[in-house]
Symmetry: none
Subunit: 400 residues, 2 copies
Amino acid sequence: MNWEDIARELAYTTDSKIVLLVCDGLGGLPVGGRTELEAARKPNLDEVARLGACGVTDPVFMGITPGSGPAHLALFGYDPLRYQLGRGILEALGSGVEVGRNDVVARGNFATLKGGLVVDRRAGRIPTTENERLCAMINAGLPKQEGAEIALTPGKEHRFVARFRAEGLSDVLSDADPQKDGKPRVQAAALKPKAGRTAVIINRFLDELTALLKDEPKANTALLRGFSKFPSIPHLAELYKLRPAAIANYPMYKGLAKLLGMDVLDVGAETPDLFDALEREYKNHDFFYVHFKRTDAAGEDGNFERKVAAIEEIDRFIPRLLALKPDVLVITSDHSTPALLRGHSWHPNPFVLVSPNAQPDGVKTLTEIECAGGTLGRFRSIYAMPLMLAHALKLKKFGA
Amino acid sequence: MNWEDIARELAYTTDSKIVLLVCDGLGGLPVGGRTELEAARKPNLDEVARLGACGVTDPVFMGITPGSGPAHLALFGYDPLRYQLGRGILEALGSGVEVGRNDVVARGNFATLKGGLVVDRRAGRIPTTENERLCAMINAGLPKQEGAEIALTPGKEHRFVARFRAEGLSDVLSDADPQKDGKPRVQAAALKPKAGRTAVIINRFLDELTALLKDEPKANTALLRGFSKFPSIPHLAELYKLRPAAIANYPMYKGLAKLLGMDVLDVGAETPDLFDALEREYKNHDFFYVHFKRTDAAGEDGNFERKVAAIEEIDRFIPRLLALKPDVLVITSDHSTPALLRGHSWHPNPFVLVSPNAQPDGVKTLTEIECAGGTLGRFRSIYAMPLMLAHALKLKKFGA
């Protein structure tokens, strides 16, 4: 029996409310002797640490740096070693592409073909505006293939997302990508017979696209990889009997929340919009996932000062969370993003849980080192969900 | 390989002695700023914490509130996610019913039948004395069915345990219970062909019982659920090469110990009886499970002061434990029972292990927060058994 089986058996609906604030990439490493959390003035986050039970979490296991997909799945109680989301679906969600149950999506690159060889898999990193023009041209010129609707969504520079929409498509396909410069174009191959028709559609589309782009100086072909369909993953309502809402202003996190069956609320682009939405919808749901992106974005840019500022920004909204008096409030992150490393890292996430049913501890500030000494100890992120449900008194007893 | 496989390979018999004192439901939550353990005067338990290595344990995993069955199984090294004991067998053990290898047992309710419908699944919660009269009447009137011996043991109010004894019975049966008031009686159904004869026996018995009770004002039928046989579970002697003794004065815990092949010692109903038995039998066994119930009983009643008093009571017996100088002494609990929650909870258990082979730590009092900071950290209860055996030098090296 695993957690999912147990959750289906033990979880039940109550009036209690859970708020999970994910400060993306919150944990860090010292620069000049202090981590971002240690350098920030954040009286409200520290007050939460004083009020709650603290610990640190490993998204996958010790030493593993997760992408946003696995890190978030773990926080919602899905073992990231069991559920692996295809790159195509994550890229599509991150680009705000609407993905239906029948669609196959893939990550695309514009590339340069010369003398029958792919000489630059990134088409000299064409400007994003060029990319947008090409995608519009292709969408207008090649919208259908054997009855399948095809749509490209431009990303940054040479990157795009391709969506193939028809009944009966399959994603059991190899990449249409030579992987290295200086090799011929490669067709997508059906890895199982059921994907044969999909491979034909995709390869004809790529040939016609290449014909259409033949006069472009750099972007005169395209590569596709990471074919994936909408994953079959149980919803939070089904597993936990929750009415969950997602409050996020980046498409990637909205898309992930949609995958898990959350109601994705309409939210503006700024931080106050998150809390306006939470207050507005507070009576209509019992689980709120609130996503704050700026801590991660600053960490990815290697900008220590901007990450400190992002922590200080979110700190000012904490009183609005506490004023709602949720039965369980958790503040944590999906993964660490130390500015020092300019990217995601394997370091554990500070975690604090405030509830009338939580055992207190002596932690007084929300930092990596203080949380590591809290009563919750060090644990895998997949236990965040059982802990939240338990403290909200939404789980029955296991066995007699 | 799991722990059981490893134990079979590595465990061996020595003269060293292990004493495991389970203070049932020991951990709690603050009321007026202090937990039960923080409020109690318990100089001897604190001395044990000073002498030993401390930690906290999760019986199943974080957030899961266990019943007594899974919580105890875990303490003895059996993964509670693998071994799940039926409600019937636990109810039978808890009622002191002697269950043999061929018996099927079930939880029973007296119920009220009116116009062909079960209108009250609890027969208006008839007095226990009424229940006792009815069970005696049925045992005298309906002792056999197709050669199967049948015996009812009364519990509190409307509850009883039914035991069916014959060769070849099966417990793969659905409940004979409509689950809701206002529905007709439901027969037990064989979920596999091998249970067909057992279903016939049980359904005929329920029909005859209903005929026998037809003039009773409230308790004129009965429902049965949780059919279960004696589970097949390896014994402690087999896994760990121990000669284990159980010292408990409640039938539920004696029954569990019997399931695991422990010698269940004769013990009176009072706390000194536990320690008298331990001293008397100390030379005859090498593993002693001592069960103290009053901490849990007070917690279940929501009586903070009485739980504090129970902690102070058990504290006075600790010098008798230490005087025996066991090679390993562990004091912990199966699960937490905060008076604040009036029931079992998911909070981890304080755990202290005293042994000449234990690493010391700085913990000075036996409380939830202090133990959480001990050198043993936070771990699943199934590691209690490997830890005890290791410190008693009863485990060989794994691998070369």
